[in-house]
Symmetry: C2
């Protein structure tokens, strides 16, 4: 225990990669002051410090820009400890935003259904998650995301890095087209959640999942693989 602590303390404080503008530095240090002393590896304090630093890093730099090393530094712990307790970056991200479900576990089944059924299968999975016991947690995530700019970025990163990337990643498209199609699909999927579960617009709010899959699936399919003018500047 003492040895591990000493090892952590001996790591030189390194400048944060990418520098970052002043607001970002402020935000990171508000979220988690970098004290590098006295944090026990498995304690709830340490865990919470890592999660707070992770939220700050993912919101400021995006999922791709944030690294476990930066997050560990901001939380004052060793990167190996973060890996040990949270696993990889995907899992740390899911823990940080308290994601109600893990798309990495749920999506393979959807993707195995084939490209031609992707739209319907994605809508079916979305409804299965939201109509199940995970709804309160999912609703809390969406509500917190809409409240301010900061939390909105975390939900966007969740959508883009954990869901859309996996869905459109199977289509063998150039990056720009992949992102354009992904963002269109996102607009319909988020809107379905908002209309059915948040605003509760009828008859969508009480309709059977399969009737919604039949109505909305073709839209998502068209956005992902169909003939569509892609949004551009």
């Amino acid at each position: 225990m003492d040895r591990r602590r000493r090892r952590r303390r001996r790591r030189p404080a390194r400048p944060r990669p990418g520098g970052g503008h002043p607001a970002e530095e402020d935000r990171l240090s508000t979220a988690q002051p970098r004290r590098r002393t006295g944090r026990r590896p498995g304690s709830p304090d340490t865990r919470n410090a890592v999660l707070a630093a992770a939220r700050a890093a993912f919101a400021e730099r995006g999922f791709d820009g944030a690294t476990i090393r930066q997050i560990a530094t901001a939380a004052g712990v060793d990167p190996a400890l973060v890996h040990h307790y949270f696993g990889n970056k995907d899992k740390l991200f899911l823990a940080a935003i308290e994601a109600p479900a893990n798309p990495a576990e749920l999506l393979p089944e959807v993707l195995a259904g084939g490209t031609e059924n992707l739209g319907e299968n994605v809508v079916r999975l979305l409804l299965r998650v939201w109509d199940g016991p995970m709804r309160p947690a999912a609703l809390a995530l969406v509500r917190s995301a809409v409240t301010n700019e900061w939390t909105a970025r975390l939900l966007r990163e969740f959508l883009v890095s954990q869901i859309l990337r996996r869905v459109v990643g199977t289509l063998g498209l150039p990056a720009a087209e992949r992102e354009a199609r992904g963002s269109l699909a996102a607009s319909q999927l988020i809107g379905l959640v908002m209309a059915r579960y948040v605003l509760r617009v009828e008859p969508l709010a009480s309709a059977s999942p399969e009737s919604i899959v039949a109505a909305v699936g073709p839209t998502v399919q068209r956005y992902l693989t169909g003939d569509v003018d892609l949004p551009k500047p």
Copy 2:
């Protein structure tokens, strides 16, 4: 002045039409205790009392269920005063939710474009409002709507009674089909707002309005007039 006050005081307190379950009574009385004394017709206090009573009534009973008479009673003023200061029920509703734009003024142009262009024209109008100076107010409305059940109902009533009803009202459909198509269109329109302006998913967030009209217009058109399986229980 004294005479007007006396006249108001002399109106008998009438029971609220429709009764209402206990929670509703609580909510209405929290929003505005029914004191019927000393409220001057044009004062900001009176105006705010009417708006608070209106928010409570529209959230609890929906746009169709709420009446100006009930709202006036809850605010302790004469219904004629509400008509005088706010106009009709539509305008009172827009004032109560601080709507950034009046669909009754904006939609006729969209509807005049013909049924076959309805999808594209609705998306174009949505983007014009949200890309213009009204965005902060519109964003505030959406953010407040998502925060809790109570305000979500107000945004739903705004969407349904002020926007969808006018858009699908031109299509000459049976009521059930009108509502089903309207709720599908709502899911795409709300999702576009969420993806572009709230979560800022790229490239949708920075794309030109016309490229989005071309991509998303056909979806809304299909929901409104096309071949679509309608959501059902």
